[in-house]
Structure formats: structure tokens, C-alpha cells
Assembly symmetry: C2
Homo-oligomer: 144 residues x 2
């Protein structure tokens, strides 16, 4: 069902400083910087690796306001690992299969994520405290 | 420098229950189960994906005792994301390059990690609160 670790979401207070750090320490390059008003974040995707099966990224997340999920996370726990995103090829089918195992779905159906992907979050309380996201990447040049 | 997200380390209280969860929810298979006395953990590697560039795993970590790094993490923060491991091809060279940027090295030289890999940890205080591990995978069938 899972095709790869799509990204690792990291909460930070200063996105530009965090980007500079990952560029200088690890030589990562920025694939995109976006504002997602629905999730209340300004975020950057930095590419770690790519293959025909898909890419893997470090996703740096700066809250737009304190009263957002990432803003509350920072107030409670400080900067650090926030969530993991796994790649899937069919997000709707994956949600149905995972929901059938009893894991609660934060998103019952796909919504808009980074870089044009369709995403959905699963409840951390049913996954050992890990906020988990499923990602169906946008198919560049797909025929359908 | 980084070749992939090698693994995502997740702290859990009951390794067998956590393995069963990742098997049933995501269909992951267990690549190895080991006890690492030096790190004070019993751990499992569950394969998410593989390619010629290397594999990516979910690493589930159960502390052997409360007075271990993962035991203290569980007491302080509960179950959840603990660290990330990135693949590198030359760990000694990577440590030298990263140390030169000012990031403190928890391990000045490679030590023994999961599945025969050489590993080293970097200090989370210099990486936005993220405990970060570098992993040079064991070369199966390598000529030297």
C-alpha cells in the first residue's frame, strides 16, 4: 500500500532560517515554497531523493498564526518532528482500507496538499502517537 | 550528500503491539528485529520501500529499561516520532563535512546500527529540535 516515505514534516519558528540550515548542512535544494491557508502554514519542500517510484522530501512548516495546528504544536512541544507522510498510488482506496482496520481518519476524503498532491491525515491516537499523512503525488504528464 | 530517508524512528512502549499495528494497517513486513544493548532498545525495521539507491524503513523502538534515551523520551513525551535517519554513501566524509558547518556530532565516528549499518547521530539542538541520524548501509555483496 505504501510506496515510499514521501516526506518528513518538521515544525519550525522561522522558515527561512530552517531552509538555510538544511541547505548549508545537508546540501538540500528547495523544490517548492507555498502558503497553505487551510492548514495555516508557510512551508518548503526540500528534496532528499528521487526515483521513478517518487520523491522524498524534508517539509519545513512555519505556522501563519499561533492558533493553527503547527502553532499549537510549537507552543506545546517546541520545534521538531511534526508528522510523516507516506506515498500511496490510490489515496481513496488506501483511506477505505485503513479506515476498515479501525484507524480514525482525520480526513475522510482527499484534500489539497503540497505541490499539487492529494493528501489525507490519519489520527495519531490510533498510530502510536504518530501524526500520519498519506500522499498521492500529482502525476506530471499522466494521461488521465 | 543524503541519498534517501533511510528510516523514521518511532518510540513505542510495546514493540510487538506496534509491529502488529504497522503490519495490519499498512501491510508492512518486518525486515529485522534486534536488541541493541548500547542504545538500550529492542527494535524492529519494517520495510516501506526499496530501490537500487537503498531501502526506507519504519523503525520501531522499545526501551530495554526506563533509564535509556528512548525510555526517558517516552516518560517525557509519550509514544511517537523519535528521530529520522538519512542514508549517506560515505559516513566518515559526511560527518567531517557536517561537523565543519558547526553542527555538533553526538558520535564523532561511526558506530554500530541496525542491520549491520554504520551510523552516527547529530545533535538536535543544532538541527531545529530534530534528532538526526546518518546511516551508511551495509553493502551486501560489495567487493571491499
Amino acid at each position: 500500500m505504501l510506496t515510499r516515505i514521501d516526506h518528513l514534516g518538521i515544525a519550525c519558528r522561522d522558515l527561512d532560517a530552517a531552509i538555510a540550515r538544511y541547505q548549508s548542512v545537508f546540501g538540500l535544494t528547495v523544490a517548492s515554497i507555498e502558503v497553505n491557508e487551510v492548514q495555516g502554514v508557510r512551508e518548503a519542500m526540500l528534496e532528499v531523493s528521487g526515483s521513478p517510484a517518487g520523491h522524498s522530501y524534508v517539509q519545513l512548516l512555519e505556522p501563519l498564526r499561533p492558533d493553527t495546528p503547527v502553532g499549537r504544536f510549537l507552543a506545546r512541544r517546541g520545534e521538531g518532528l511534526h508528522h510523516v507522510g507516506y506515498g500511496v498510488t490510490d489515496l481513496t482506496a488506501a483511506l477505505a482500507a485503513i479506515g476498515a482496520t479501525g484507524v480514525r481518519l482525520i480526513d475522510e476524503r482527499p484534500r489539497h496538499g503540497s505541490m499539487g498532491a492529494a493528501i489525507a491525515f490519519l489520527h495519531p491516537a490510533d498510530l502510536g502517537g504518530v501524526l500520519t499523512e498519506l500522499v498521492q503525488a500529482r502525476q506530471v504528464g499522466a494521461q488521465s
